[in-house]
């Protein structure tokens, strides 16, 4: 046994305990399991809403991207803030609609708003198809981290199987509560780890950030601007990628679902306002990547994922390596848990109940969803073990895909006539184009992010389809988006309730 391995194992073990304990004394019904009874404000909503920010993608991907590509990596610093601006306006009406109609999943929104279980099922299939690569991505990151910090004593596959077996179990038992409470530990540890390595390493080797930047500019002229060392990722790519990723941020099924867990619209807006500050630390990860570029040069392709870890092992004492390993492992397994939860609920609610067995009770939907936690886990694990690939590219494909939900959701808030025909056609065109362009190697296309090109086609088709076959959402449907004053018909402030009863 070595010290980094022990520390990593202790941290992961602690998260698992928290995951199980988070069940508390709640009676686990479907609403508690999937959206934690919609009671979150404060810290838990904050870490859930920021779930996207501190993941393995941040931890390994940001440093790796800074290492291999340079300037294009700065999109990772900016997209979160832009996404929170969109969420400030987009999420409150969506949350109200979800609350009043008792929605639990992202696809529920499509089923409900367009009165079409089939559209919901289509949205569920698209969601699952793209969320599984994202889960796989977390798995691969975890495998990389554990293998590196233990000097290969624990194999990639073993690490993935053990950790994700544990995740599957605590999500099975505690649902969203597990994801929320373990996120608190994950974020705290990651912030500490990012501060230690992000301040320590660049200063150790170059004395100051300014010294580091000068050294990079000297050794690799042009690396720190666009297109950096990527050749194809220029200014148009940067702008189109920022637009695409800011729209896609909350379109991940698990991020969408996490929003439902909010206590109120005010909690959502307060979070959106201050979350951009949470992202500033990301800058430090680029510095680690730049330092690695000079200190451990020559990593190519998927190996650039190791840039951070190699540098940490080389430049920091063993206990810090263990801390970084543990924090990195949590950055993989905690979001992994949320992803699995979302995918499983999509299958249970929107494929099993909406299409296969409409009479199914909430209890049997819960049972089916729990079974699918295990199925989805196994599928991600299989893909991760069979076909490892570069973390960031996988994420960009998944991102391009889920962002295709955006036009339908944004339009449906403000345009009554948005129709299921338009939405289905737009979604199919958008997703089809993403798959075609990315798989055939046409990303970027005409210098633009291929996902954004697909998104524009998708939006045009959605509008055209809705004009040809208009939807007929009633006034009542549209009223579900609207705010309601604190005192509705004599109900005292703070107790107003509508639609499905909450505890």
């Amino acid at each position: 046994m070595n010290l980094p391995l022990i520390i990593t194992a202790v941290i992961v073990g602690l998260a698992v305990v928290i995951g199980f304990v988070s069940h508390g004394r709640t009676t686990m019904d479907l609403e508690q399991w999937s959206v934690a009874g919609r009671r979150y404000g404060g810290v838990l909503l904050w870490v859930l809403a920021a779930g996207e920010i501190y993941t393995t993608f941040t931890f390994l991907g940001a440093a790796g991207y800074g290492y291999t590509k340079g300037g294009p990596a700065f999109y990772i610093l900016g997209y979160g803030a832009l996404a929170y601006i969109i969420s400030f306006f987009l999420l409150p009406p969506l949350w109200r609609y979800a609350k009043r109609n008792g929605l639990l999943t992202q696809a529920d929104y499509f089923t409900s708003r367009f009165a079409s279980p089939w559209l919901g099922a289509l949205a569920a299939v698209v969601g699952v198809v793209f969320v599984v690569p994202y889960g796989t991505l977390q798995l691969e990151g975890l495998g990389d981290i554990v293998t590196t910090v233990t000097n290969g004593k624990v194999s990639n596959a073993t690490a993935m199987i053990v950790a994700f077996g544990l995740v599957a179990l605590f999500v099975f038992v505690s649902g969203l509560r597990a994801a929320a409470w373990t996120s608190v530990l994950k974020d705290a540890l990651l912030i500490v780890a990012v501060l230690i390595v992000g301040i320590g390493l660049p200063l150790k080797y170059y004395g100051s950030y300014s010294g580091l930047i000068s050294a990079v500019n000297h050794a690799h002229p042009g690396h720190l601007a666009l297109p950096g060392s990527s050749r194809v990722l220029g200014v148009p790519w940067m702008i189109s990628t920022l637009v695409l990723t800011s729209m896609g941020f909350y379109m991940y099924p698990q991020a969408f679902m996490a929003t439902y867990s909010a206590r109120s619209v005010q909690a959502i807006r307060r979070n959106a306002t201050f979350l951009p500050l949470y992202q500033i630390l990301m800058l430090l990860m680029f510095y680690v990547g730049f330092t690695a570029l000079l200190v451990v040069p020559g990593l190519k392709g998927a190996n650039s994922n190791f840039a951070l870890l190699d540098l940490v092992k080389k430049g920091e004492p063993a206990w810090i390596t263990g801390l970084v390993g543990g924090a990195g492992a949590l950055a993989a397994i905690v979001p992994g848990g949320a992803i699995v939860l979302a995918a499983a609920t999509l299958v249970g609610r929107n494929i099993y109940r909406d299409v296969i067995s409409p009479q199914a009770s909430d209890l049997s939907v819960l049972r089916v969803s729990r079974v699918f936690v295990l199925v989805v886990m196994a599928a991600s694990l299989y893909i991760a073990i069979r076909s490892p690939s570069l973390i960031v590219n996988l994420l960009l494909t998944a991102y391009d895909g889920v962002t295709q939900f955006f036009p339908a959701i944004a339009l449906s808030l403000v345009w009554r006539r948005t129709s299921k025909t338009g939405v289905a056609a737009g979604l199919i065109v958008g997703v089809g184009l993403v798959l075609y362009l990315v798989i055939s190697g046409h990303d970027p296309i005409w210098g633009l992010n291929a996902g954004l090109v697909a998104l524009i086609a998708n939006a045009l088709v959605t509008v055209a389809g809705s004009l040809l076959v208009p939807g007929r959402a009633s006034r009542e449907v549209m009223a579900a988006y609207a705010p309601r004053p604190m005192e509705v018909a004599g109900v005292p402030a703070g107790t107003a309730q509508e639609g499905t009863a909450a505890p």
Binding site: L82, I213, P483
Partner: protein
Amino acid sequence: MLKSAAVGFTPYVVMLAGVPFVNSTANVGGIPLLGLWILIWVVLTPVFLLAAHRLLPRAEREDGSQ
């Protein structure tokens, strides 16, 4: 609502619009100009969103939906 959105989306538009003009590796106090530009607008976003909140229609600001 439009006034609020106009203020809220200011950092969004400005960050993107500025990219072609700050695409440089110039070392500004330890941060490349491109990164600094993005950082500035990330830091300013909360300020603009606070202002956007004040400009929301009253019904939105006092929404009591629970």
